[in-house]
């Protein structure tokens, strides 16, 4: 599933609820489609352990547990829906995401260089926006915390509609600045947090 882009994921979900046969709400416009929203899109190549999506049902009395069961039944093994419920917080409350970067091999030297890089006051790098516009941003204020454990680096980064930092950009900036030889790593998003750093619900 990690090789499915965000756009393809949207289509996948639309077909999934259709196979599940649950009464979901469709938009009313000319091109009526299943209305659904992912809290924070997940980049191609990343895994996610705590992803949030939201959609509407047309029947208020429809059993949510049945909904969950039906969705899991028509799902490929790589995805599991683990919880369903009325939203407690608005999607806008999402402020941070936690990423686990698992390096194929992490030497002490590499970890030191990475620590040094992340401990700087400011790192300006170029970010390409949606419309292809390149702007310069400082990534350091967007990094809430980082920690090492064995071959893994855990990053808590700004996330959400307003201000998002992709861990790939952190790595790109690191390699660009230090010219360190690249080490293959897999990225997993392990949690989405609200402004108080509590798991978003």
């Amino acid at each position: 599933m990690k090789f499915v882009s965000h756009l393809d994921m949207n289509r996948f979900m639309s077909r999934l609820v259709s196979r599940a046969g649950i009464p979901v709400w469709y938009t009313e416009g000319f091109n009526r489609h299943f209305y659904m929203n992912f809290a924070v899109p997940l980049s191609l190549g990343f895994e996610g352990l705590y992803e949030v999506m939201d959609f509407k049902l047309t029947d208020d009395d429809y059993s949510l547990s049945e909904c969950l069961e039906r969705m899991n039944k028509v799902c490929p093994p790589d995805i599991e829906f683990f919880k369903i419920g009325e939203p407690k917080e608005s999607m806008k409350e999402i402020a941070f995401a936690e990423y686990r970067l698992r390096f194929e091999a992490l030497s002490d030297e590499f970890a030191e260089r990475l620590t040094g890089f992340l401990s700087q006051k400011s790192v300006i790098c170029e970010k390409t926006g949606k419309k292809g516009r390149v702007k310069e941003i400082d990534i350091i204020p967007k990094i809430k915390s980082f920690s090492f454990d064995g071959n893994e680096l855990t990053l808590i980064l700004n996330a959400g509609n307003e201000d998002t930092l992709n861990p790939n950009l952190v790595l790109t900036a690191f390699y660009a600045q230090t010219a360190a030889p690249p080490v293959f790593c897999t990225v997993t998003r392990t949690m989405l947090f609200n402004k108080k750093l509590k798991p978003f619900e």
């Binding site: 990690k2 393809d8 639309s14 077909r15 196979r19 009526r32 490929p76 093994p77």
Partner: protein, 614 residues
């Protein structure tokens, strides 16, 4: 290949979803619990192969048997191919990711001639010798089916077994024979001799070819008890035929990403340029109930919200309106849209237009194929200008503003007059729009004219005809362009060189095997992709093999000449094609199968339109 290595590989290429597998409804089995592993290869990229209905049918059908595991294989795009070669990763199947060379049977579906080099490239990437004679072990067997197999001679030395016609029955008969031989430990040579006894199975290595002084074919002789001619297989009763209940639903966007529901096979029309119109004869329909039930089941199991009715000419389905009514009973409520490709102008009723208007308003597409009535009569495309204009009028009044027209350039007997006719017809449609009081207000009309290059194909009345040269194709394209004077008409045409090579391969003989191999060794692949097609390399390959491509593309064949596909029996007789060719030259049309039987020969199966009450 371990998971980590696989991930690394996929994260370095474009669209990794092409190779990741794991889609909804893909089939995973225990490989130790099956007798036959079948690698179903489509010699093009995932997005194209996954859109192909035949592969969906056979994939599901093979996997419906416990003793067979059928997996999908597509041509890796050039970026992945480069990495695979660099890292020594062999071609793998999507489901198990196991190397293709470890499979029992490697099967290719050959939908267009320009995919031949991809087939060789895939065999090479798999680590399987491309030539049949170099594969002395019993496994893997290399088999192929699809429309190109009606003249498989240019690839006959690479493939062990060809399936002629529809595969649902004959493929499984061959797999059963394979199982028997695998258990008893027979040799490949014995197996091939035995396989040749199955109707619809063509084993090219059992046929000896001889040539005349002038380079034409002298004879093709069957050896070792193989039949002198091989007759294609058809399925007699489509209502009883296996049809998948599920399609694999891709994660990534593919060319035709929807439920494809077959409604009939064959075509009653007999357009003289159209190979599909002859090789799939006779017309056999599915009943309204079967179509409705199968389409509904597929929607439920895939979650698709679009159904496309599939056939060579949708409006020739006898009960099209009852069918649409039945489908609309549930599709509207489920928000499933219907699309009806391949409609004909002449039986495109107001009621039908009214129905599809409810379904989806997209552009209208028609295929007059030729610009003048004379030439349309030559090719037996029995539509008239009045019919075209009348249909456009109805469509414009119904709110349509875009019309797409398909034509062919280089048809036998074509003159500049006929080409001018294409531009004139486009202009008449534009004029018609502006003369219509009820046209959509404030909107401009758009007429797109798409012109492909005519390629004479085997098993058509034009199989004897020369193709016009590349220079002449270009001249005619330029002339046509000069005849179009309004911006309301947009013109697009195919690359002239591609059509030329397609023409050579379509009517080639066995001597072209060397050329195909040489071209692939020079790096030719994805020949149907304009950005990869390299005519220069192909011409070098012809030169290296001392073969003149014009001999195959631009030469007129006598009716008496032995054609490379004469020993393959698609049941429509050569005499019929000769008669049709003569009628074409005098611009005489032939009736369609429902009007009057022309005794083409396809009635030999005892089924289908040949036995409908007229």
């Amino acid at each position: 290949m371990d998971n980590n290595e696989f991930e690394k590989l996929l994260l370095s290429v474009q669209k990794p979803g092409r190779y990741s597998g794991g889609e909804i409804n893909s089939v995973i089995k225990d490989k130790t619990a099956v007798d036959v592993r079948f690698a179903f290869c489509f010699p093009d990229i995932y997005e194209i192969g996954m859109s192909h209905l035949g592969m969906k049918i056979l994939y599901s059908q093979f996997n419906s048997r416990d003793d067979i595991w059928c997996e999908r294989v597509f041509a890796p795009w050039v970026d992945l191919e480069a990495l695979m070669r660099e890292r020594g990763i062999p071609l793998f199947a999507l489901e198990s990711r196991d190397p293709v060379k470890d499979f029992d049977i490697i099967g290719f579906t050959l939908q267009y001639e320009m995919s031949y080099t991809n087939m060789l490239n895939m065999l090479d990437l798999a680590g399987v010798p491309p030539r049949s004679k170099d594969r002395t072990d019993f496994t893997p067997l290399v088999v192929a089916g699809g429309p190109c197999v009606c003249n498989p001679e240019p690839i006959a030395e690479f493939v062990d077994i060809f399936f002629l016609g529809e595969g649902e029955e004959v493929d499984l008969e061959l797999i059963d024979l394979y199982k028997k031989f695998k258990k008893s430990g027979g040799s490949k040579a014995e197996f091939l001799r035995e396989a040749a006894k199955i109707e619809g199975v063509y084993v090219p290595s059992l046929y000896e070819t001889e040539y005349n002084q002038d380079g034409t074919l002298k004879s093709v002789t069957a050896q070792n008890g193989a039949p002198a001619t091989v007759k294609k297989r058809i399925i007699k009763d489509l209502d009883k035929l296996y049809y998948p209940e599920k399609f694999v639903v891709p994660f990534i966007d593919i060319v035709h990403d929807r439920v494809v529901q077959e409604i009939f096979r064959g075509c009653i029309r007999g357009c003289r340029f159209c190979q599909a119109g002859y090789i799939y004869r006779p017309v056999r329909e599915k009943s309204v109930d079967t179509v409705n039930r199968q389409a509904k089941c597929l929607c439920e199991n895939t979650g698709y919200d679009e159904i496309s009715l599939s056939s060579l000419s949708t409006s020739d389905y006898r009960e099209i309106e009852p069918l649409l009514n039945k489908l609309l009973e549930w599709t509207t409520e489920k928000r499933v849209s219907l699309s009806l490709p391949s409609l004909r102008i002449d039986n495109f009723s107001d009621e039908l237009l009214e129905k599809i208007k409810h379904i989806r308003k997209s552009g209208l597409t028609f295929a007059p194929e030729a610009g003048t009535q004379r030439l349309r009569d030559v090719i037996n495309k029995n539509v008239t200008e009045e019919e075209i204009l009348r249909t456009c009028k109805t469509a414009f009044a119904g709110g349509y503003t875009a019309v797409k027209l398909y034509f062919m350039l280089g048809l036998p007997t074509e003159t500049d007059e006929d080409l001018k006719g294409i531009a004139d017809l486009g202009q008449k449609i534009v004029d018609l729009y502006y003369a219509l009081p009820e046209r959509p207000k404030g909107k401009s009309v758009s007429v797109s004219i798409s012109v492909s290059t005519f390629v004479p194909k085997p098993f058509t009345p034009f199989q004897f005809e020369p193709q016009i040269t590349v220079d002449e194709i270009r001249r005619r394209q330029e002339y046509l362009k000069s005849q179009i004077t309004t911006k309301k008409i947009s013109l697009s045409y195919h690359d002239s060189a591609t059509g030329f090579l397609e023409g050579v391969l379509a009517r080639g003989d066995r001597r072209l095997c060397d050329v195909v191999e040489a071209a692939y060794k020079k790096g030719c692949r994805f020949d149907s992709w304009t950005e990869h097609f390299d005519l220069e390399k192909w011409l070098e390959a012809f030169e290296d093999c001392k073969i003149d491509p014009a001999f195959y593309a631009n030469r007129t064949r006598d009716f008496e000449e032995v054609l490379p596909w004469d020993h393959l029996d698609y049941t429509v007789s050569k005499d019929f094609f000769i008669e049709e060719n003569k009628k074409a030259k005098s611009a005489k049309t032939s009736p369609n199968c429902r009007e009057k039987c022309s005794a083409c020969g396809a009635a030999c199966y005892g089924e289908g339109v040949c036995f409908e009450k007229r």
